[in-house]
Symmetry: D2
């Protein structure tokens, strides 16, 4: 069934929830709990079994405050006022009237004076990367990305009463539409063809005539949620009596088995050509005379033989597929896509960003406070760093120097010398447990401390107690 | 004489000075007063007549608080902690030991933990664009750029006791070394050659043996100032008993008559070729046989004739020099180089950034508050916008959308239609006076308001009263 | 066995052979006969069954004139004198002395005066594209490329008595070393590792100590041949009493099953992602926690399941492999690599290059001689044109406008409108038979003639009788 | 007057003339004689004094064979047949009908079959670089370029009877229209404005209505010549009874005093800024407030002062103008533009291209024939090489390795070591005399021979007697 209705009268405010989650010891558990909050009352196991990537669902909560604190139009106003938001880069002004979709971005910076003028004239406003401007959105997404093992993104949509900002279309991501203010009339439609289901690219705009009847047709109010998988056509419009503000949380863009195979298969072929002479043997002298589109209608026994040989080679290919290395390619992309972690107060005082070293009274203080073999450390998040083998050398890729702006920083990594790889792996696998620096499997105490210092300076680890 | 000593016991704090300056009605006057504060007690007229571009000068004030509030190491510590400062981009770690100059930047973000470690080990820290991180530095420089009519930049230098961070060298800018904390031993040397005086590029590092005796050799203490023109070699080192923090305020990079001629002369030649057939006539058939380096020792009467013809043409060139257009090229560069203005509270509430339009209580408020023909307006700063003729069209270039980071935004401009140019020029020349929108020399009231709206939205003008 | 010795006393001169081949009606048959001449007395079937891509072979003929007419040092001297041969582009000057390999190319054009000076001082000369300078080499290679279905290339090597020009190495092509003048001592060695056999890239230079004992160690004299497959290490040196001139005819560079798979496999994956939802399904939420190099030592049942899913998908991939389209990609590369055909006198007068249209006596003659429905036509060579499907449109790719210089011209093609594809396919499949223009399966006589005119103008077809 | 009529019945054939010129000892004299032939019967002194760059002139000879042998349509037919002429690159197909100018180039190679079809349908054919295909045109232009000291180029125009191929326009070169076959009606018009006379760029096509009345309106027949300077509008059309073939020989593109000043003036400014502190002084602090287009109507005494300062600096600029170095920049461009020299039989046997070194009878012959101190040498052409000072080093630039295709080869040069510059200059200035290698002002005989060998190998010098 596509709808769950429940009265969630007693939900704790998001601020309290996030403060509680900050005390959860393991970032994966934290992610799981926050995701559960997002889809409550559906149990997450059930959600992933029955709904995820399968069908849309509508969760009606009759509690306008359920998502309160995540984002608001007042926050948007503040952002316009205080931050450097650029039309066309961070904010789109759009309209969809009489079947015609338009984008109306002027050049330059967004200010309340101009943005609200657009809004009053019936335009929708879409903020493209609210995580760069809102600490709460950043925090929520940075937690959720550990749930998905794939980038969690977000857009904000503000729509004036009685208008629609976008034409019907489908996207290439799993979408969680979180209604924050007002209400919106949503219609979701089945994919139009086999190839659209879970499609890996977004559609053009559809005409109303071409999309059939909705399989979900509901009015979503503040505190409600709609989820729909990639490939499902959707459109939302405001009723005459209320504006709408929602945030769409998205994930699983280019995160399919096929996306992994795109890394794996060319690598497999490379290995096969190195290791298996069958792949290096020459093609038949005459193959161009019976193969190719121009010969595809020919009845030639050599064609069958050729097909069979290809078949055989493609089957052998699996034997050479460097799967873990291909997963590492995906992992590196993910590390690059990740938001940097938001630190809890405890994490702050135990990591490099909150280290006590400072300028005070005309001189440097606490500069000598360094890591010892007794210091207990762990990585900051289950997935804030990843060890990957790049041909000859091993590198540690990490998220802690990423920017809140997507790919503004390049992928961060540094080489891990062979004598340190075991220690780094040990650290990663020990999470969420703390280990003493002295227990790292390195050759000398000096090495152990040097490694810990390095990881601490990059913000990858924190200590059990403030230094 | 190279030194002025005065006791400035009663200087008002910078904060008060800036608040007072905010009330000065004319940005040029404001710039002039702030510059006077910088070089007090030397009268600015005297300074520009006797010192500027001519010789170094040392102003000793015996008042460590004179420049207080401009910047401090505590502020630097805060910036390291709170802002995204990158080694090698915003901060350089340097040392100069036993005649060897080194730069020791690690990759990544600056944090107190690592930065103060470098400092404690004897390295100097140079912050390259403090105006991007300190509002006071931004404010001061954005005022001073109107004094110079040329970009005002700044670097911050923090040096540990008993060390030196840089080798002797000269720069390509006019330098005002403002001592903020501690003290520093400075030595300034005369240019080493005719071509070094007012040199338009910076030197490599000099060996101590090659620079002769200093013409200025002083200990600069907090509240003191040294100025020296481009081309003067200088070096500063900390005494064992005190660290040093200074800010070097710079200007007049590539702002010489020659720099203007580099814009002017090719343009003059282009005009001459269009307008004067003498420039289009063919060279003599045989000129390659007697001219050129290979023939430069030849005694050939044709050489003298050729030289004389060239002489004559170069003299004629002056007649075709489009001087105002070339100045506009310089002006556009300056507009691009400028820091955006820092708004006073009064300016804020009368300009687009502080316009009352806002989201409040679930809806947009004051969106209808617009400009009328009675509204009194003026440009925000004497030089925040400039009308330039670019061949066929006229554009208005403006600074208000510039970034605090040098050239992070491209040069901003938009076309001014012919029917609006007079009004824009009228506005610019009316500064610092306000004029009513109705008085703009446009064809219709509608045009007057449309132009004012446009300029208001770009932040180029503000109103006499809040809208 | 690696050696065939036979006395070929009565071979006809190459010139006569080529004249005879010009009368062979089918270009593939022509290619086969010329290849048979190359490897005589080994029957070609036996050669391809037992030797090709398997082992080196030496054919000793005791007839120094066997390959006479193909190329000579006298021809090289003529080329240096008359053609624009550039050092480093068309000719390399090399030496290999005391285990050290050097390239000694000066800049600029090759002239006998400098080239022979290098030769006299003991350097070898390697001409890189003799087909661009020698019509006979061009003719021979343009015929042989139809035998191989893969580009046939050539280098010329001239070595002074008592010297060696190259270090031991292996290449990435099948090599036919044709001794033209003098003699050379050749040693061929087995591949040093599994991956070297039929290797798809050339090796660096080997040290003598690392290559073991030769499996072939012979003195090759004019009229003899050595063949060895890619991956076999080889070196040749001149004996003190004679210089050596040989031409190495090569083919099958990047022409293996693996090379075809490199076109096929990414295309298969693209199709699979479009057509099979299994490829579009999301990866498991937690796969990054147990997959990847960092987890490769983990014993986790999810790993086996993941491997098995990948296995399954890779097997399904075969179902989506667009094999004929991938062969077309290879075919297009081949069409681009091909030498343009050399026309026989008969072909010349029946094709566009020899059409009678001309300027004569102050006016144009025979310009009205055009194709009619009675004209009999066929494509010029079995493989001079190829019909390929490129997504939405069908294009005809052709070799007749290629250059004798490798890839100097870009790949030539034009679109074939849907109403013409059958006729073009009919023409291609009718080869070597002629068909009347009237028999082309087009809608109208006008269409038939328009198509024939187009193909005639591009030099792709010729007529049975001169127009 | 614009017209010269003379009967030239007894002109010697061009072949004979060129053979005679080959015996002229000095390439400049040779150039002068050939140019005299081109404009006969006008004496060249008179031509350059009264006509060149001043006005059009028509030379009517009543001798259709006067220019015979230079080029013909039969030669064009041969070129289409034998050479790789490409539509759009080497040949344009054009028409001008009812005031509409069209270019009809198909893609691909030109063949008689297609080219003559265009011609018969009324299109004109323009061959863009006949010097690459015709040895005679190459020879003539390579001689004439020494007359002009500027590149001599050519286009061929073939026009069918009763048609016109081009719209009225003017060009940026001095044009010598040499009628080779048939006849053409030519109209030449005065420049339309002051700036068009000797214009340095070509015009767009004019409408007939806009060009006024011709100042020259004649029927040009084979053997006749029209000359007109750049900037003069012209058009030619064929009468119904005859086709037309002409070659336009052109020169003096970008070869004006202004073009030289474009090299000179920026260099002068660079020197001035290094040597004269007045150019390095800062601009007035407030110049942007009274200068610039926005202030150009202001009456401000500072403007006059500013203008006067600029005036003064521009006058000083002349003192720093490195004229010979700027001429060298022009000279280098010319050396790059030059056609390579065509060698006479005598020159061939005395230069590197005809050196006796060769392969003969299985070995190298005459490789030991080298230059001695007794060998007499000179540069091959007065201007085939030029010594230029490029900052720190001296290079010799030369034309002998240029291509017949414009700029196909990059500018050729090599460094001349300081100890050789005197010798090279001596050689250049000794032309047309021969000097012995022994007389070169070098330090040792070995140096003299090494330098001579180098120049000989580059084809820059030849010897008095065959080596």
């Amino acid at each position: 069934h596509n709808q769950v209705t429940v009265e969630c009268v007693s939900a704790e405010p998001l601020e309290t929830l996030l403060a509680d989650l900050a005390k959860v010891n393991n970032s994966r558990e934290r992610a799981s709990k926050l995701f559960q909050w997002l889809i409550t009352p559906i149990p997450d196991k059930m959600f992933f079994r029955e709904t995820w990537e399968k069908k849309p669902i509508f969760v009606q909560r009759k509690n306008p405050d359920y998502y309160k604190g995540l984002f608001s139009t007042a926050e948007l106003d503040r952002i316009f006022r205080e931050e450097d938001v650029q039309y066309g880069v961070n904010l789109d002004v759009t309209s969809y009237t009489n079947g015609k979709r338009e984008t109306l971005n002027p050049p330059g910076r967004v200010l309340p004076y101009t943005a609200w003028d657009f809004y009053e004239s019936g335009c929708s406003l879409r903020m493209l990367n609210p995580q760069a401007f809102s600490s709460t959105v950043w925090n929520v997404l940075s937690i959720l990305q550990e749930q998905f093992g794939s980038m969690a993104g977000a857009n904000i949509y503000l729509t004036p009463p009685g208008t629609q900002g976008f034409a019907p279309h489908y996207d290439d991501i799993e979408a969680f539409v979180v209604q924050l203010e007002g209400k919106k009339h949503w219609r979701v439609y089945s994919p139009r063809c086999q190839g659209c289901l879970l499609c890996d690219f977004s559609s053009a705009n559809f005409d109303q005539a071409d999309i059939g009847k909705p399989i979900l047709d509901v009015v979503v109010e503040a505190g409600d949620l709609i989820y729909f998988p990639r490939g499902f056509i959707h459109q939302g419009n405001c009723l005459p009596d209320a504006h709408s503000l929602h945030i769409t949380i998205s994930s699983y863009q280019k995160n399919s088995w096929g996306d992994l195979l795109q890394k794996l298969v060319p690598a497999a072929l490379e290995v096969a050509m190195e290791e298996d002479v069958e792949f290096r043997r020459g093609l038949p002298l005459d193959y161009l005379t019976y193969m190719g589109v121009q010969n595809s209608d020919k009845e030639d026994p050599r064609r069958a033989k050729f097909f069979s040989r290809i078949d055989n080679l493609m089957k052998r290919l699996t034997n050479y597929a460097p799967l873990d290395a291909a997963v590492d390619q995906k992992a590196k992309d993910f590390i690059h896509d990740c938001l940097p972690p938001t630190l809890t107060p405890d994490e702050l005082v135990t990591s490099v960003k909150g280290a006590p070293t400072r300028w005070e009274g005309g001189q440097v203080k606490d500069v000598g406070v360094h890591i010892t073999t007794q210091t207990q450390i762990r990585i900051l998040r289950a997935q804030c760093a990843r060890l990957c083998n790049d041909g000859d050398a091993v590198h540690l890729y990490y998220t802690t120097d990423n920017s809140r702006v997507y790919h503004k920083e390049q992928l961060k990594s540094f080489e891990i010398k062979p004598e340190y790889t075991d220690a780094v792996e040990f650290l990663i696998h020990s999470y969420p447990g703390f280990v003493t620096v002295g227990s790292l499997p390195c050759e000398s105490a000096q090495d152990r401390i040097a490694l810990a210092e390095l990881l601490f300076e990059k913000g990858i680890i924190h200590t059990a107690e403030p230094l």
